[in-house]
Amino acid sequence: MKDATVATTSPALPRPRRARRLDWRGTSSVVGFFLAWQLAVTFSLPGFTDIPTPWEVLVTFVRDFLFSANYWSSWLVSFQRVFLGFFLAQIIGIPLGLFFGTHATFRALVLPVFEMMRPIPPLAWVPLSILFWPTTEASIVFITFIGAFFIITINVFEGVRSIRPEHVWLARSLGAGTLRIFRRIMIPAVVPSIAVGMTLGIAVTWNVVIAAEMIASDSGLGRLTWEGYVSSTPTIVIVGMISIGLAGYLSTMIVDWIESRMMPWKQ
């Protein structure tokens, strides 16, 4: 059952031990990247003819976006869609995963259908979602929900299955009832898997919201980037991409913070 969940971002990159020296080499490669971009544009290599230089992007960003309410409202719209869909997925997915783990009959009945739907890429739901939901807003939130729902459910289900039997036996020997075992032993034991499911889920949700906004919305960071393309102003496209990158990074940090609150014993 332990097959691959859709994880575009895999385990965190191991931090280099000798931070100081490596940073120098690390930064040099980042600087090299921007330099290469700059050169590609100035010598207008094939494909880079109408791409702006990093400097132009920066200037445009400060001039047109940094202080424009419209820009920051696209941040807000995208964040709302991501976190609404994401939390709905946790609220429904975690109990479902727990049920799969603890009720053999329920699992035998429902898991096969669940597994049949799981390989369908979330964005393939876009048309049906638009058809089904009254507003585009709801349809996009449904897509972000799908993005995170399958991942969290499977991770919680795996979490329940990998609970060490001894942890439950010992509690029963000490006289704990079924409810107390569920609350004080099984739920905390599953929390690390919930954390993994959330980390993978948030990354997927951002990917999904960007594409959904490009396809079917008139607002949000995805839309902003797409409009940059449609109006053939690549600078806006790059500003959009960098904003999406920052938003994705910020959400991962938020999820990491939530996880550290959930697992005080993990420090």
């Binding site: 060490r164 001894e166 942890h167 010992l170 020997s173 000490l174 006289g175 107390r180 697992m263 014993w265």
Partner: protein
């Protein structure tokens, strides 16, 4: 824990097994016979050590005593009462630490009494006393992940003792520890036993550990496990490291090795 060393008859925790047998049937694999027609008596207030190679069914026996596994045939009694399931009178320390990582040491220790409706203040007091005795007072609010192997084992023993079990079952408890901690934990448990005479069933695969701890060693044959020798270890108590260098120790060692090696000379 100032229980005076009671005489054998008064102390609870006498275990006896009659014609126990157990076979594991796993889908797709042939059945594994763990125990076949095993009978024994573990007297109370005694450090009974069950010894055998890996796979001889000794862990299965331990789980049956704790009520985590049921025999296919035969029955198992503790102080005459049939063992039907887990209970606070028979508590087990597993090979791998089983402290709940998400609870502090204190919460781990008081979990038992609180689960059975005991008062919080009484449990906290008993826990404080035990943790002091086991040198863990300043780790009270630490999580198990922050403790060393030896400390986790001591916390687990405290977690069990607070429920005043009749029998302590230890399934190769010091196996995962580094050598140094293992020897000191062996000494630790021997002192604890000599002070409380708590009936103990100690499972191990190491002869030196068995000889150093045991009042009596039950040597089991390979699967299906049967008791092929009972060795009364008459080394003086309190047991000291020095007993390892005595002649009597060497004689007992030879006797045990002969039983362990019976019919195994042409091994692989």
């Amino acid at each position: 824990m100032e229980a005076v060393a009671a005489t054998v008859s008064e102390t609870p925790g006498a275990i006896s097994g009659h014609n126990l047998s157990k076979t594991y049937r796993q889908k797709g694999q042939e059945p594994q016979v763990a125990l076949a027609d095993l009978s024994f008596d573990f007297p109370a207030a005694t450090l009974n050590v069950v010894m055998g190679t890996s796979g001889c069914g000794k862990s299965t026996l331990a789980k049956m005593l704790a009520g985590y596994a049921k025999p296919d045939e035969g029955n198992l009694t503790c102080d005459g009462k049939r063992i039907t399931g887990p209970g606070p009178d028979r508590l087990m320390v597993f090979q791998e630490t089983t402290l709940w990582p998400w609870m502090t040491v204190q919460e781990n220790v008081v979990f038992g009494p609180l689960s059975r409706g005991g008062s919080r203040s009484e449990a906290d007091a008993a826990a404080a006393e035990l943790l002091r005795r086991f040198g863990l007072s300043d780790f009270r609010d630490h999580f198990p992940g922050q403790l060393s192997g030896g400390m986790m084992r001591r916390a687990e023993i405290a977690q069990a003792l607070i429920n005043s079990p009749s029998v302590m079952i230890l399934d190769e408890p010091f196996r995962g520890l580094d050598v140094m901690t293992r020897e000191l934990m062996q000494e630790y448990y021997v002192r604890l036993f000599e002070e409380t005479r708590l009936s103990t069933v100690f499972i191990t695969a190491e002869l030196e550990e068995a000889l150093f701890l045991a009042d009596r060693i039950y040597i089991m044959s390979d699967a299906p496990g049967r008791i092929v020798k009972i060795l009364d270890v008459d080394l003086p108590r309190p047991r000291e490291i020095s007993c390892l260098a005595t002649r009597r120790y060497a004689e007992l060692e030879q006797e045990a090795l002969d039983a362990l090696y019976a019919g195994r000379e042409d091994l692989d």
